[in-house]
Symmetry: C2
Subunit: 203 residues, 2 copies
């Protein structure tokens, strides 16, 4: 049987990414050196440079993977359904995704400032594509009369900030489970967008 | 006329605080040295230590002042009125306060991780006192039947994340004024809490 080429390499790469995510989240990108990341992984800095030529390459890789995974998870969950059901699915997927990736979410929210211009554009394009999905749901709902929306862009930002904010305070072992938190945020979101069909069932 | 004691000192202290806020917001606390802050102010590092004995003293001073100013601004705005009017005032004050202090808000949101235990407790106590005001408004509204609230704590966090999030994307010279943004967030908040009286006037 042929040796699986690069399997150790993949393990090391993954360990580097995990260590960097934790260190960047705790101390900020600027304050963390390649040497520190290598020490946490248990390799020499020279070995780390074989995987990522610069610290910014590593940061960009983390941020791009985070956005790719977020968009993938939404594409797998997205129902082919009315705006109310799609919005519920969007909120549920967003909260679950970010609660499972607390450190990575902090890095993605804070370190846009640390990317060079072209890479910043790439990440902002991915963000834009993801947020456009939410704006489309809101627009569809406003058009069919399912939702009451003053401003699609502001409403999309408000919902994203509100549901991403869960990771700031939520610890899964406290008084509420992920499911309970998601359900409450679902109810708040439905009221926020004035979801008519949903209200007739719940009020 | 007696010389105003300490007026130059106050100017320097204020310049140090402004420079540190900007540098911490852009690079993260861990990555910024006292020497860099001093260079931005145009003084020697030794002079800066006369105002703040350690870098953490400076960070704590910034975070504590931010929270004190936020609580003060709310106490000055707080109407002696029904929950719906108080919630509208809370949202308006919170958005205006944070839009005017973008860098300081970033530092306050990100650098809790950089405080020692006792100082973290002090800042969290101030945050708690501020958030308690919002929880009280929500509780009052739920009790009088003015609001529909599933969970006071979650709703308070959702509202604070949503309205603090304005600073992430809002630039006052774009298509919307601060007043327009505040008005739209006001409407979204009222729907989010199921404000009955407000809905009967607006739907």
């Amino acid at each position: 049987m042929a040796r699986t080429v690069g399997s150790d390499g993949e393990k090391t790469r993954s360990a580097i990414r995990d260590a960097a995510t934790g260190l960047f989240a705790r101390h900020g990108y600027d304050a963390v050196s390649i040497r520190q990341i290598a020490a946490e992984v248990g390799v020499q800095a020279a070995a780390l440079y074989r995987y990522f030529a610069t610290k910014e390459d590593l940061l960009f890789d983390l941020m791009q993977s985070h956005m790719d995974a977020l968009i993938d998870s939404w594409e797998q969950q997205r129902p082919n359904d009315d705006p109310t059901a799609r919005l519920a699915a969007f909120v549920g997927n967003h909260i679950r995704f970010h609660i499972e990736r607390r450190h990575s979410t902090h890095v993605n929210n804070m370190e846009l400032r640390s990317l060079s211009h072209d890479r910043l554009s790439t990440i902002l394009r991915l963000r834009g594509a993801y947020e456009k999905e939410l704006r489309q749901i809101l627009r569809d709902g406003a058009e069919t009369g399912a939702f009451v929306i003053e401003d699609v862009t502001l409403t999309a930002m408000a919902i994203i900030q509100m549901i991403t904010g869960v990771i700031v305070w939520f610890r899964p072992d406290e008084r509420l489970s992920v499911t309970q938190v998601t359900e409450t945020y679902h109810q708040m979101t439905m009221r926020l967008v004035g979801a008519q069909e949903w209200e007739s069932q719940h009020v």
